[in-house]
Amino acid sequence: MKIRVAKRVLDGNDQQARRNIDRLAELKLAAVNVLASPGAGKTCLIAALLKRFPPGLSVGVIEGDVAGRIDTDKILALGFPATQINTGGGCHLDATMIAKAVDSLGVKGPGCLFIENIGNLICPAQFDLGEGLRVVVASVPEGDDKPLKYPGVFASADAVVLNKIDLLGHVEFKTDSFVAGVRTLSPDAPIFNVSCRTGQGLDAVMEWLLNRPSLRFQ
């Protein structure tokens, strides 16, 4: 006998993600899910953006890592609220973890909540956290082939940030190939060339972020 199911395997996560959307709207917080491989510069990008937020908007960060609270301590040291999720080996954050972290963080909007996902270009792409925007960070030393090697995550990006452009010319990286890869996967996503180390290009990311209709700051 055949039983029709037609149900997404991640249905439980999706349902929680929808509850997160409601909860975040209640708190007037716009959530930005930041995805990248380890070391691409997720924390540096978030820190740089936090410092550029206009007064009157609150900010907070949920840090996801397999172990430790190094990134949370970095954000706290800058004077911004942050809370740590340790997955203990888990390769991605899920919507239930975010629901708990939002409560423990205790930040209220209007403002912006950054979620730094586990450094991984594979699994985090599958898990909706209830975020308003998804930003994928790549970096020059990783090579220009990353979009085409990890199509799932780049296809889900609302914006792509190419970090460490101060290293262009020092390492092998063909910007045209990188852009062509991103364009194939996510034709409408803006690509921002930045260096979190020198500050180059970060104002443009901030301007884009503040002008997203999906980020209802007020």
Binding site: M1, I3, A6, V9, Q126
Partner: protein, 115 residues
């Protein structure tokens, strides 16, 4: 790690869809998009382990791959991307830029159970 939680999700949904507690599942038919980052063999391994003692013990996992589509943004030619190799950035017909869509499905289509 990832496939273990996916396998548990599959079992929860499959067992939850059964009309009665003593119905045995023979087959689980799963649609897996080529961009969904799921490794079928690893999934089978976890399903075997996690289904022990449940209505899904011994059930076969049938994976139906769902390709992604590469559409040329210049001439509209559509080709399938089956997940092998890189997605082509340029159209094989006119050389125009491609756009990749679909291929992210991950759902249980149906179960086959003991009548």
């Amino acid at each position: 790690m990832h496939e273990a939680s996916i396998a548990q999700g599959i079992l929860d949904i499959a067992i939850g869809a059964l009309p009665s507690e003593d119905t045995r599942i023979l087959r689980i038919v799963l649609v897996v998009g080529v961009l969904s980052n799921i490794q079928a063999e690893s999934l089978r391994l976890y399903l075997t382990e996690l289904s022990a003692g449940t209505a899904a013990q011994g059930a076969e996992l049938v994976v139906r791959p769902e390709p992604a589509r590469l559409t040329c943004r210049q001439c509209g030619t559509v080709t399938d991307y089956d997940g092998a190799g890189y997605p082509e950035v340029a159209c094989p017909r006119c050389g125009g830029p491609h756009k990749l869509e679909g291929g992210s499905a991950l759902y249980i289509d149906h179960l086959e159970v003991e009548a």
